[in-house]
Subunit: 408 residues, 2 copies
């Protein structure tokens, strides 16, 4: 029997460990592989010989698998590393495949986003070129939801649930004072507006906030923004705005950059987009204004993750193992939404070359004509992805996540 | 039968509605009062005749009471308003008590922090001076935990649980990369360090972050800070720092202020404390550095509140009604920790004059000699306050809080 390897790469999400749990669960259940190894810090771990066996921790311990499913960020650590082209620079590939050969690795599961799919593509092509028999399977994840060929990506639903919940709680916090105010919430997503759009899910029968939503897919005009605010402030005391960190003006300059400030040493300091807009509102409208950057909490807040998201991520991990057993390589798994009344996704796959180095933007028709909100179609697309709450275990008042002692 | 009035004031907490729910529950169960009125936006609502009856919404609806218990911020809205001295300016008092007389208000429950207790003191004294028979009872709340004469304040435990949970999740997010980094988490509490101290509750058997904790009770030295970091970076890749927004240098200047930057128009811009320290680390140590401001989420994130906190807040609300029935006025209720092995708090009360306009700092002996961490005694004091998780109901993937349509 041969062995297999799994690794994680790119930015953290609440669901990327659920996919790892799915891979480990399926490998342990099958009797195809002797040992399942984990590479620490993505493909870098292979290059640096930081590889651990996962069997002892997870075999015969369903509880460890379950705790892993509901632990944030990456149990195996991450990297932001893009392999060079193997025709130009084969050294690293030779090293990686010598390691694979020595360890008899015959399947490699890589959980990640765009750059990770590039790695899947290159490794599977190189393996073919040297006739090394290995199945290389990509499992998607990213809070940005910007991978093509899949209805959505694991990790996005949980981040969206955190954004929507926080927006609702910020609204409760904001409405209590009887004074005019503008609250600006800055949300991650430098090029794609999916996560910022999910702030619309905070709306319910009493809360209509966010009242304005600006995505990076549309040029941002500070003039229109102030105009939008002034119109709303005629009828509303408290206006709440959701804005992507990546909004740019018509010339393509980041709003954060055009409002860069200098520190006391004269160095330019790139303040956040929210902070830049806060200054703008302060100097033009003059009412109470506050900006809130959700920051890394939106990708790591496991305690408010989506059960739909976590479940799908786990199933994708299991399916990756089944795909390798079926002899599929150089693929990325996809989630395909069924066209039925109830939300339902099946798992498919595409050649990873069709996915790598591409990005899926929010379609123009899901943004309103004024460019300051999303449409009902967008909300219908988003809503099912945040449904359900996984059971998180607590110990001493804080979540009882799986130990990452090996990374520290 | 006479009537009673309840109102909320100051900054929001996750527990202040639980105290309101306790008051409403006890009033409905007793048959001492005909109607329980709520003043919108604290004492300002009385001055502006914004008073609503609460009976219809909550009578015979245990579900509404329960939903109120687990809804963030203030159902009745808030204000930041301090009454003038009644000897110097009696006009507002005359108006307030004329309203009380017309509505036959014979008990007034005010849930709030320091300034609200000042209002309780003044109203109860004025009532005595004009011989108006009314019981004025203060119910404490503040995420800052800085009220004297009570072991701790409702709202603090929930904020502390959010801070500790977020710190742990940020740690998971941070440890994944194999590069040197400093992460700075800015926590609320301008003058008191209790909430920043609670970040220590994020530590468990594998996570020792935050590695450094700086409270406003000790002068902050940027030199010592960089020295602390450099020492830790010798043995640790990722250093995580918890810092109070209110830290000041030895001359009493806010660190945020001394690092103020100018925007492109030349206006001084007070960046946050975390941002100021981020710039400092960038320019001196030069490694990857990120600052995270927890912002209003730490006071409004009901979805990760403490059951201990919510339960105590509810009981204080009930006890306030019992106290009024016993003829107590001009008091604030207190939580008194029993000296036993298991955590247990009884409810007491003190004359509100002993509480108003005072603040409780973190004692010197609960900060380590180096001034960059808290002691085991502090952790033992804090731990019980964050225990337990209330059941939060979800609808469409977001928390199903009680409607605050009347505030919007």
């Amino acid at each position: 029997m041969s062995n297999c390897l799994v690794a994680q790469s790119g930015g953290p999400t609440a669901a990327i460990n659920a996919s790892l749990a799915g891979v480990i669960d399926a490998v342990i259940r099958s009797n195809r592989y002797n040992t399942i190894y984990g590479s620490i810090n993505g493909i870098q771990g292979v290059l640096q010989h930081k590889i651990i066996s996962l069997n002892s921790t997870f075999e015969n311990d369903a509880d460890a698998i379950h705790t892993l499913m509901t632990s944030p960020a990456m149990y195996l650590g991450s990297c932001r590393y893009k392999l060079p082209s193997y025709t130009e620079n084969p050294t690293q590939y030779e090293f990686i495949f010598e390691t694979f050969r020595q360890m008899d690795i015959r399947a490699f599961f890589y959980i990640g986003g765009n750059d990770s799919m590039d790695t899947v593509a290159k490794l599977s092509e190189y393996a073919k070129s040297i006739n090394y028999d290995i199945m290389v399977v990509g499992i998607p994840k990213t809070i940005d939801n910007d991978l093509v060929e899949t209805d959505h990506t694991p990790g996005f639903g949980s981040a969206a649930k955190f954004v929507a919940t926080s927006l609702l709680e910020i609204a409760h916090d904001t409405y209590i004072y009887d004074i005019e105010s503008v609250t600006i919430v800055e949300i991650m997503g430098r090029d794609a507006g999916w996560l910022t759009a999910s702030s619309a899910l905070a709306r319910n029968d009493y809360n209509h906030a966010p009242h304005l939503i600006y995505l990076p897919e549309r040029p941002f005009s500070t003039f229109d923004f102030i105009d939008d605010l002034n119109k709303l402030l005629k009828s509303k005391k408290n206006v709440i705005v959701a804005v992507s960190e990546g909004i740019k003006d018509a010339d393509g300059n980041y709003i954060a950059a055009t409002n860069a400030v200098a520190d006391k040493f004269g160095h330019a300091q790139l303040s956040g987009t929210g902070k830049a807009l806060e200054q703008l509102v302060k100097s033009t409208i003059g009412c109470k204004v506050r900006s809130i950057e959700l920051n890394v909490l939106q990708r790591s807040a496991m305690h408010i993750s989506s059960l739909t998201d976590i479940t799908e991520a786990f199933k994708l991990g299991q399916e990756a193992v089944a795909s390798a057993e079926m002899g599929l390589t150089g693929i990325m798994l996809t989630l395909n939404r069924e066209h039925s009344t109830n939300y339902n996704c099946s798992i498919g796959n595409v050649p990873v070359s069709e996915v790598a180095n591409q990005a899926k933007s929010v379609p123009r028709e899901w943004i309103n004509p004024e460019g300051n909100d999303v449409t009902e179609d967008m909300i219908n697309y988003l809503r099912p992805l945040i449904l359900g709450e996984p059971k998180i275990r607590f110990k001493n008042g804080i979540p009882d996540y799986l130990s990452i002692k090996h990374l520290i």
